[in-house]
């Protein structure tokens, strides 16, 4: 009885979170162009999607920005984590405090502050400014997921590798890096997701004529959203869902591969 109540509660919350997603998926098959009416089942928007150059361009921009910004953020964030282990306690906590600023600050303030920075520096608004902004708000996600791994690390292993004649760089990639990898990967994924879903910061730091999916949707709201957009979002969602289910089918195996796979590969 008590267990059933718990399950129902979880189900209700999940339903609440996924109801809009279901709605959008249903709308993507709606033959009628308006949201208000169901005009029968149709795949026309999926076909129209691949002929809509504006949407495809926005998709391309979104993916490039998400990929490049999360890669940069992962590299900078991971290096920062390594650097922080060697820091004095006080310096470290100041740096962690700064790291927390983009997380705790309101997106709108981060957005306008970066906009003012680019204006003062005379940087032209466009893909470049969006990228710089996304790297900035992505770094904290990387640091916060790599840092716990860093703390679990045994520093003696690195020193042992050095004692045995390994160069610091070699020791890092052979000994430290494989242990950090799960944290680095989850930080990268988190950064990628956040970049993909961001609207507010992109809104303030994009240039005229450059659009990501978010900003494209925002400008379309007033004229009415093109149903191709529903089709695209449903496609993205289903692809990600499938990938994640495949990865998660064997979580234990994945963990092992992440830990030991790196070392075995280099043999």
């Amino acid at each position: 009885m008590k267990n059933a109540a718990k399950k129902i509660y979880i189900a209700l919350i999940v339903l609440f979170l996924y109801a809009p997603i279901g709605t959008l998926m249903v709308l993507s098959f709606n033959a009628s162009k308006t949201r208000a009416k169901w005009g029968g089942f149709s795949l026309q928007w999926y076909i129209a999607l691949f002929q809509n150059e504006e949407i495809l361009r926005a998709l391309f921009n979104t993916l490039v920005i998400a990929l490049v910004s999360s890669l940069f953020a992962t590299v900078i964030g991971t290096i920062a984590c390594i650097a922080m282990t060697g820091m004095k306690r006080q310096a470290k906590s100041i740096l962690m405090g700064i790291t927390n600023i983009p997380m705790l600050n309101a997106d709108i303030v981060t957005g306008v502050s970066l906009m003012l920075l680019y204006i003062s520096l005379g940087i032209r608004f466009g893909m470049g400014t969006i990228l710089l902004s996304h790297i900035t708000f992505n770094i904290p996600y990387v640091i916060l997921s790599v840092m716990p791994r860093m703390k679990q690390l045994n520093p003696s292993t690195f020193e042992a590798a050095l004692d045995l004649g390994s160069s610091p760089l070699n020791a890092f990639f052979k000994v430290v890096f494989p242990d950090l990898l799960p944290g680095i990967l989850s930080g990268f994924l988190m950064a990628f997701t956040m970049s993909l879903d961001d609207f507010i910061i992109t809104h303030f730091t994009k240039g005229v004529g450059v659009d990501t999916l978010s900003t494209k949707i925002y400008t379309e709201i007033k004229k009415g959203i093109k149903p191709e957009m529903y089709a695209l979002s449903s496609l993205i969602f289903v692809i990600v869902l499938t990938l994640l289910i495949l990865i998660n089918l064997s979580p234990d195996k994945k963990e092992k591969e992440l830990r030991y796979g790196g070392k075995n590969e280099k043999k």
Binding site: I79, M96, N100, L104
Partner: protein
């Protein structure tokens, strides 16, 4: 080993200085000057003008209500989830992050379809012979949009904090004769404070400063403080006034940061 690593901190120090600290300084500079560059407090005192004060009051009210609702919904959920086996940890986090893979503007917009007079929810309510909802384009719809968008940010820190509590501590409380209610208030609740603070911050600040949710679900007539700032930057191009109002928001953010620094020293209540 330590001294050799110092140069490694250079890229991040440079990056965070240029893209975090300097931009915030720019906001302060613009907020405290007028178009001619002379010092003024007018941009900040502008918050007291009727329209701005009303927008701020409404933002505070709606975000407070949303935060409370999120907390009340998320705490029981996090407690249930915390009892699930540890190996399912990643899966649980995934369920709540996954919706972000569908664009947040579209997800919020979908609520229009669900809430409309002839929308899905009202069809279900009529079918069940219940009174229909008329909340679209009202503050209630904005609250719903806030709760919907920010609930995962309340669930995850609470879940992380609760999952870390050693079950032996709870068992010990029971062994020593504490009842369920007593154990909850004396053991579980205090131990989850880092998660609570982090959750409140992660919900309250975005809700207080949003400008998208209000324009999507409020019918464009309800102005929140975020809408006002957005207008100053993107439409009227009065960056000075926009910066001044942003500084007022930063006061609330600072209070929140100080609170999290006090209650969550080790970052225990973090989202990840």
């Amino acid at each position: 080993m330590t001294s050799k690593k110092n140069w490694l901190s250079v890229p991040y120090l440079f990056w965070s200085g240029l893209f975090i600290i300097v931009p915030l300084g720019m906001v302060v500079y613009y907020g405290l000057t007028d178009r001619t560059g002379a010092f003024t407090l007018e941009n900040i005192t502008a918050i007291a003008s009727a329209g701005h004060a009303k927008a701020l009051r409404l933002s505070l009210l709606l975000s407070l209500i949303s935060t409370v609702i999120c907390f009340l919904l998320a705490y029981p959920l996090a407690m249930i989830l915390a009892q699930v086996q540890v190996r399912r940890h990643n899966f649980i986090i995934l369920i709540f992050i996954l919706p972000m893979w569908m664009n947040f503007l579209l997800r919020t917009l979908a609520w229009q379809t669900l809430l409309e007079k002839n929308g899905v929810i009202n069809h279900v309510l009529t079918f069940l012979h219940l009174p229909t909802l008329k909340i679209i384009n009202t503050p209630a719809a904005i609250i719903l949009g806030m709760v919907y968008n920010f609930l995962p940010f309340m669930i995850l820190p609470l879940y992380n904090a609760l999952a870390k509590i050693d079950p032996n501590v709870i068992n010990a409380a029971h062994d020593l004769g504490a009842g369920h209610i007593h154990t909850f208030f004396r053991i579980i609740l205090p131990l989850s404070i880092p998660g609570i603070i982090s959750g409140i911050t992660m919900v309250f600040i975005p809700a207080l400063t949003t400008f998208v949710i209000s324009s999507l679900l409020g019918g464009g007539k309800i102005l929140l403080i975020g809408d006002v700032i957005d207008l100053e930057f993107t439409k009227t191009s009065n960056w000075h006034l926009g910066s001044g109002l942003s500084m007022v928001l930063m006061i609330f953010i600072l209070v929140n940061m100080v609170l999290s620094a006090i209650f969550d020293k080790d970052g225990e209540g973090s989202m990840l």
